[in-house]
């Protein structure tokens, strides 16, 4: 039954975000998320472990890297191994033996990424399973029910997601439907004391639609808000404007989770725009293609140029891969059939992302975030003025000038 949030829920959502410092120029904030499985420092990058595993690295390795929150995916886990089994295993935490926090996406994004297998109606999303052809209906209620069984610390509403390249009435339809689905998720949520349900702001690249969505969703007293529907095929210029619009209308005392953002430059800019949480498959996926992330971009370690390069990926990096191994060895290992090569790079890339966020956070706390941004852009692009236009514009909009 669609409708406005009830009086009861307006008062009941926990305040999970504690602000520790704010940049006096930009909208950057440093904070702490108080979650059932421990505190998480923000801004935070959350690696994606879709099917109850962080690809080839163990939970011990992930913990040792300092990760305190990572992602699982409701769509995938809902199919295999299924919520009943995971519940028997003491939730997703128990099943994968992860002692820290988990965030589960609702399955909404798969509507876009697996669009040939899905059909959206007011009821929910009908998926055809790629594994056995069977059909499932993922409704807001079903998504929340699965996430309740998974037991993740943060759960996401089921949203009606359209690709950011879509225009026309479908965008508006999806935005209003997402609001109705948010209310259905709130009503269906059985464990608000143990799991924090986040809303997801939609509206595509249309400022008016975004603004409407923001106005409506912020009336619902959920513990946090995500900015969705971006990080697809849209231009960066449109992207940052929608992010900035969203953060300007979202409450300050609640976390802002920008979904699907993971490139280093994007992370830094979007922190400046006021975002606290990020997730992306990019660092872990690119690792499995032999690409190591560094402050100047990335190293394609399979290339011959690294054959005799006996230094580590990054001499400043404290990760186990950089402590022990050279680019030359990783190059040789990447050309073998030993999967360890991929794991070495996964460890490093996650470390890179986490170390980056940590450095960003420290600079905010120490009141030198704008200088940090300038140094970062200088290292990445050779000179702060060579930073891409969209990033320069975005930073300028919140008072940070480069060069």
């Amino acid at each position: 039954m669609a409708g406005v949030a009830t009086q009861a829920s307006l008062e009941s959502a926990p305040r999970i975000m504690r602000l520790v410092a704010e940049c006096s120029r930009s909208r950057a904030r440093a904070g702490e998320l108080r979650l059932p499985h421990g505190t998480v420092a923000t801004p935070v990058f959350m690696p994606v472990g879709t099917q109850a595993t962080m690809k080839g690295i163990t939970t011990e390795q992930l913990d040792a890297l300092g990760c305190r929150i990572c992602l699982g995916n409701t769509y995938h886990l809902g199919l295999r191994p299924g919520p009943e089994l995971i519940q028997k295993a003491n939730g997703l935490h128990g099943f994968m033996n992860w002692p820290h926090n988990l965030l589960t996406d609702s399955g909404g994004f798969q509507m876009v990424s697996l669009v040939s297998l899905s059909e959206v109606t007011e009821e929910g999303v009908r998926f055809r399973s790629p594994y056995d052809g069977s059909e499932t209906l993922l409704s807001p209620e079903k998504s929340v029910q699965i996430q309740n069984a998974l037991g993740s610390d943060i759960i996401m509403q089921l949203d009606d997601v359209v690709s950011s390249t879509v225009t026309g009435p479908r965008v508006e339809e999806a935005m209003y439907r997402s609001i109705r689905w948010l209310d259905r998720c709130i009503a269906a949520h059985q464990r608000p004391d143990k799991q924090n349900l986040f809303a997801i702001i939609q509206g595509g690249l249309d400022a008016d639609l975004r603004a409407t969505c923001l106005e409506e969703m912020t009336k619902r007293d959920v513990p946090g808000f995500a900015i969705g529907g971006l990080s697809g095929g849209e231009s960066k210029s449109q992207f940052w404007r929608m992010v900035a619009l969203s953060t300007s209308r979202l409450p300050k005392d609640k976390p802002r989770y920008l979904m699907g953002v993971g490139y280093a430059t994007d992370l830094v800019v979007c922190v400046a725009l006021g975002c606290d949480m990020f997730d992306c498959v990019f660092p872990t996926r690119t690792a499995r293609f032999g690409s190591a992330l560094v402050p100047t971009g990335n190293l394609q370690l399979r290339k011959k140029v690294f054959e005799k390069d006996f230094g580590p990926i990054n001499p400043e990096c404290t990760c186990p891969t950089c402590q022990k191994h050279s680019r030359a060895f990783l190059h040789a290992l990447l050309h073998s059939d030993n999967t360890a090569a991929l794991h070495h790079l996964t460890v490093h890339n996650i470390a890179y992302q986490l170390q980056l966020m940590s450095a960003v956070r420290t600079s905010i706390v120490e009141k030198r975030f704008p200088d940090f941004v300038r140094d970062f852009m200088g290292t990445m692009y050779g000179d702060p003025t060579l930073c891409p236009t969209w990033a320069t514009d975005a930073l300028a909009s919140v008072g940070i000038t480069l060069g």
Binding site: I57, T58, P81
Partner: protein, 415 residues
């Protein structure tokens, strides 16, 4: 280096090899095994995950097939393969071939032997071979040898004789080149016993190789399926009888627990650990018991759920997985099977490995069904630890005169 035998029981040699390595302060226990690696790295494992395993052997096996191509790189690196691969503390043994990948026949000549890498064939004359070893600087290395007889069905006596002649010639040439190189003198050459299935040639190879100043012996050409080993066991005994007591005997291509015991009884000291890797690659977990102290009922309790497994294990399935055309053995369980979907027990109850302490059969099943990389990591950790534990139990059994019990236990579990 010095091999001291503590005792010899029923042909099994229990002892230690001391003063190993460049610093001469490493020790290895025998009987024992070497850590199997692919391109200088334990399969699926980073330093961190390898470190989680208890009982990792002091010596790792490298394969020339995976490292020959690094010749130029290592020459420029100068500091040896141990440091290059991030294992500066480990003892290293370099074999010619990878025991898991069969080598195509027809590529040994009077002057050269070829190894097969991921990129293709690398042909090595004696001088190229020794140049590569000079760049690698392993502690031990298998001498260049003609082992092709084991790749062929029913090799002729002439071919067998040639394999012995060639191997001796390669050995003499390698020894000569070693004398001329200070770097190479820091490595120990392992002489290779060839001779196929011809007793006369086996004896000749053993006697002649033993005359040379090698540091140890590799018994080549005994690998195959379980039936071929049975017929070769007699040859094996005769060969080791010809070898000096104070030098280690390695064997290649033997990994099944029952076969390991049979070879130890015939004077073999060191084995490879590719077998746990093969089990891993087919989604299996080693579960065989080597706890000869337990009575049979307790053993069954410990291997929780084994009743159904014993029934399933009676069906031997052929699986083709990335070149490991191996059959499932009775020493393992196949975690891909649906019965493990909701099994929240560890792989082996009482196992202290990282996988068993942290994860369940159900989780491993899920990882295998979803093709996740972590499956290989966790299974490799368990399978290595289990296998190293088996070798530990062999040494303990020999120490306490309980070999018969261990043997009986293992053979009861062999299908």
């Amino acid at each position: 280096m010095k091999l001291s035998l503590t005792k010899v029981v029923n042909g099994c040699r229990l002892g230690k090899i001391k003063n190993l390595g460049k610093t001469r302060d490493h020790t290895m226990d025998i009987p024992g095994c070497l850590l199997y690696t692919k391109t200088g790295c334990a399969p699926h494992l980073t330093h961190h995950t390898l470190r989680n395993i208890h009982g990792v052997p002091a010596m790792a096996q490298l394969t020339l097939s995976s490292l020959a191509e690094q010749h130029e790189v290592l020459t420029e690196y100068k500091e040896g393969v141990g440091k290059f691969i991030g294992m500066p503390e480990s003892l290293l043994y370099c074999s010619l071939h990878d025991p898991v990948s069969p080598c195509p026949a027809g590529y040994v000549t009077n002057k050269s032997v070829s190894v097969w890498s991921v990129a293709g064939r690398v042909e090595m004359t004696v001088s190229k071979f020794m140049a590569i070893q000079q760049a690698l600087q392993p502690d031990w290395f298998q001498c260049l040898s003609d082992g092709e007889v084991s790749c062929k069905e029913a090799a002729s006596i002439k071919r067998v004789r040639k394999s012995v002649d060639r191997s001796l010639l390669f050995l003499d040439n390698c020894l000569r080149l070693q004398e001329e190189s200070e770097v190479l003198q820091k490595s120990v050459i392992i002489g290779v016993i060839e001779g196929g299935d011809v007793m006369e040639e086996r004896l000749r190879s053993a006697r002649e190789t033993a005359k040379r100043p090698v540091g140890g012996f590799l018994l080549d050409g005994f690998q195959g399926n379980p039936t071929t080993l049975e017929t070769r066991l007699c040859l094996l005994s005769s060969v080791t009888a010809e070898l000096p007591e104070d030098k280690p005997r390695l064997i290649s291509g033997i990994g099944r627990p029952d076969e390991v015991l049979k070879c130890i009884e015939r004077g073999v000291d060191l084995f490879e650990s590719f077998f746990p890797y093969q089990v891993t690659e087919r989604g299996g977990a080693l579960t065989f018991s080597f706890d000869y102290q337990l009575n049979p009922e307790e053993m069954l309790l410990q291997q929780n759920g084994t009743q159904e497994e014993i029934k399933c294990v009676d069906q031997i399935k052929k699986m083709e997985i990335t070149g490991c055309n191996q059959e499932i053995t009775s020493f393992e369980i196949n975690l891909k099977e649906k019965m493990y979907q909701e099994d929240f027990n560890p792989l082996v109850r009482g196992c202290s490995c990282y996988c068993c302490k942290n994860h369940t059969r159900a989780y491993l099943h899920h990882l295998l069904v979803t093709n996740e990389l972590l499956a290989g990591v966790l299974l490799m950790m368990h399978n290595f630890e289990h296998y190293f534990g088996f070798f530990h139990s062999i040494r303990e059994a020999l120490k306490h005169d309980k070999l018969a019990q261990l043997k009986e236990l293992i053979h009861r579990q062999a299908s």
